[in-house]
């Protein structure tokens, strides 16, 4: 039998069971496979418009079938896809529970693939003949498509007209949901009137939907090609509406969206574009361009691969030496992370560290860097090398975990390292939201002999107050400070800072020292240690080993 154009997703953890289904069903359908609910959801999200049926096993690791059903049930788009749950006859309440979670049909184990094929055919036929979408396509309150319906029709429109260029537009109507809750339908009447007005200025075959809360979404063929200043056109358009409605509108526009790519991906881009200007009061138009897409894709790449990168050694620790300002001897180092991926190249910590901080992965990454540092220290001590104290970075998120000090003290213990060889670098931002907890943790570390360095001093968050409050031993002056030392006013500020810091008996480090001139300025100011390219860039462990050897 020739393959149909329908795609079936098989979610089953056992390789052999999955292979049996995939082999036999594969004769009639395109097959996608997933090993657990989590993978299943991911495949489903990525292929939502082409998967006709899902075959789901219940007992699976990581995310089982019930949990997957639950997530699908809550997603307006995913729940449109029928799921056949594979059950065994001994367990009758399984079926009831699954039906409750939105399962469409059941197939008995042991698998009879022929019967399963027949089930799938029936479902597809039924859904194709009836109008398969949810009964509610139009949102009663706003008169536009619901989110699920919008995706469905947008997808159809794009597939039907492969030669037409479309723009995807997302609009944020500030206060829409609160105003709506306050005024109810009266408010919607105003919006509707506005929308009807708008209708006249957009093509007939454009479609609109309510994305969520204050966000609306539209897909429209592009008509006005001549105007070169796109933003200006949209701005004038917005100004006109705002003057009548009395609220703020923000638009994100993605022109010439891809017909091949899943509509959900394009929606993510406009969403991202809108988010980028959300907190900017003086910008109300954001265009999706190549730079935004690249950035988004890179971020997605990083988020999808960070876990394995840490596990398989793509992320490595490097060490940047610190030297004594007095005699130039090496007195310490800072551990930094490097991510090198074959094929993609170097991913800058400036790019991945803020992302890790955003998604919380920084906690694992910091623990990794600390553990690696202790491991190398142990190795070098065993080799009889003259080791120096090494500082490890910590982020504010580390301190929200109760077991924070464990990750440092445990590594120190595991490798039997003298705690004095480890310094912890903190930034002041840490203390904005969690000061008590963090202060206690740091005090405990200090009692063990670990020194605390205040990083990035002189940048955004610095306050002199924190110098007095924080349990610190060392102040690191930020490179933005150091690089401007040729300016007289900077020098005056710096001298004052040094006076305070020295009176508090704190040790000082200058970061980002690149030139001899820089170095001399630091020496003149009385700074104790120097870190920067003047002495050395961050070195991989093998080179740092030679450096101290």
């Amino acid at each position: 039998m020739s393959k149909s154009r329908y795609t079936v997703l098989i979610v089953e953890d056992n390789d052999l069971n999955r292979d049996i289904l995939a082999t036999i069903l594969g004769e009639e359908f395109e097959i996608l496979e997933a090993k657990n609910g989590q993978e299943g959801l991911k495949v489903l999200q990525e292929n939502v418009s082409r998967i006709s049926v899902v075959l789901l096993d219940l007992e699976m690791p990581i995310m089982n079938g019930y949990q997957m059903l639950q997530v699908v049930k809550e997603d307006e788009l995913l729940r449109e896809i029928p799921i056949i749950v594979m059950t065994s006859k001994e367990n009758a309440d399984e079926e009831e529970r699954c039906l409750d979670l939105g399962a469409y049909d059941f197939a008995q184990k042991p698998y009879s693939p022929r019967v399963v094929i027949q089930h799938i055919r029936n479902i597809i036929r039924l859904r194709e003949s009836a109008s398969t979408l949810n009964a509610i396509e139009i949102e009663a309150e706003t008169g536009v498509y619901t989110r699920g319906a919008f995706f469905h029709y947008a997808d159809k429109l794009l597939k039907k007209n492969p030669d037409v260029d479309y723009a995807l537009i997302m609009v944020d109507i500030k206060g829409f949901s609160t105003e709506f809750n306050k005024w109810g339908s009266a408010y919607v009447q105003i919006i509707k009137k506005e929308a009807d007005q708008l209708r006249k200025s957009i093509p007939d075959d454009a479609i609109c939907g309510h994305y969520y809360l204050e966000r609306f979404i539209a897909l429209s063929p592009i008509i006005n090609r001549e105007e070169s200043d796109r933003k200006k056109v949209v701005r004038e358009f917005i100004a006109e509406i705002e003057s009548r409605v009395g609220t703020t509108l923000k638009f994100a526009v993605y022109e010439n969206i891809s017909h091949e790519e899943d509509i959900l991906t394009s929606v993510q881009y406009v969403q991202e574009a809108l988010n980028n200007i959300k907190s900017l009061y003086n910008e109300n138009v954001s265009l999706v361009d190549e730079a935004l897409i690249n950035k988004f894709e890179r971020r997605t790449y990083i988020e999808e691969h960070m876990q394995e990168a840490l596990a398989n050694g793509e992320i490595e620790v490097y060490f940047q030496p610190k030297h004594s300002a007095k005699d130039g001897k090496i007195v310490g180092a800072e551990t930094l992370m490097r991510w090198c991926k074959s094929g993609i190249g170097f991913i800058s910590p400036g790019e991945f560290v803020p992302l890790f901080e955003e998604n919380g992965f920084i906690v694992e990454a910091d623990a990794f860097a600390c553990d690696e540092t202790c491991r190398y220290l142990r190795k070098w001590i065993d080799q009889g090398l003259d080791v120096v104290p090494i500082s490890v970075n910590t982020s504010r998120y580390d301190y929200t975990k109760k077991n924070f000090q464990n990750h440092i003290t445990e590594s120190v213990k595991r490798y039997n390292i003298d705690p004095e060889l480890i310094h912890i670098e903190i930034t002041e931002s840490l203390f904005q939201d969690l000061s008590n907890e963090a202060t206690e943790i740091l005090k405990t570390c200090r009692r063990l002999g670990i020194k605390i360095e205040l990083d990035d001093f002189g940048t955004g968050y610095s306050s002199l107050h924190s110098l007095a409050e924080l349990p610190i031993d060392i102040v690191k002056f930020d490179q933005s400070f150091i690089r401007k030392l040729s300016q007289p006013r900077e020098q005056i500020v710096m001298r004052g800072c040094m006076d305070i810091v020295k009176s508090l008996n704190l040790h000082t480090v200058a970061e980002g020292v690149e030139t001899e001139e820089n170095l001399l300025q630091c020496i003149e100011l009385g700074i104790d240690s120097i870190q920067g390219y003047y002495y050395s860039k961050p070195l991989p462990a093998s080179e740092f080993e030679k450096y101290i050897g």
Partner: protein
């Protein structure tokens, strides 16, 4: 040994299996995959360390695999163990585990003759 003989020796149902899995070639292929399948080892490991949840999960999977391959006798034996474990309130019953292991070894040896 022919497939028919093999199923007879193992207390399995050849005709039913053939109807479900389409033909001898596929049955043969899936039976050979069974030799590589690690579920039995996972089950024994989980039982050994007393991990009830993992024991149940492995037993449940093994039941499914055996059922799909028409190894009825093994499937029945492991089904009893699965139900014993389902509530997670007790450790695996050693005599049930032993029974599963014997049935599994029998199946394994018989399938090895196909290689």
């Amino acid at each position: 040994m022919t497939l028919q003989e093999l199923y007879f020796a193992l207390g399995g149902n050849y005709n039913d299996t053939k109807q479900r899995l389409m033909n001898d070639k596929l049955i043969n292929r899936f039976l050979l995959r069974f030799i590589e399948d690690t579920t039995m080892a996972q089950l024994l490991d989980a039982v050994k360390i007393g991990d009830r949840k993992a024991s149940f999960s492995a037993a449940h999977t093994l039941k499914g695999v055996a059922g799909n391959l028409g190894l009825t006798s093994l499937a029945k034996s492991v089904s009893v163990l699965t139900e014993q474990l389902r509530s997670l309130e007790e450790d695996a019953d050693p005599s049930l585990v032993q029974d599963v292991k014997e049935k599994y070894d029998c199946s394994f040896r018989a399938i090895m003759t196909l290689v």
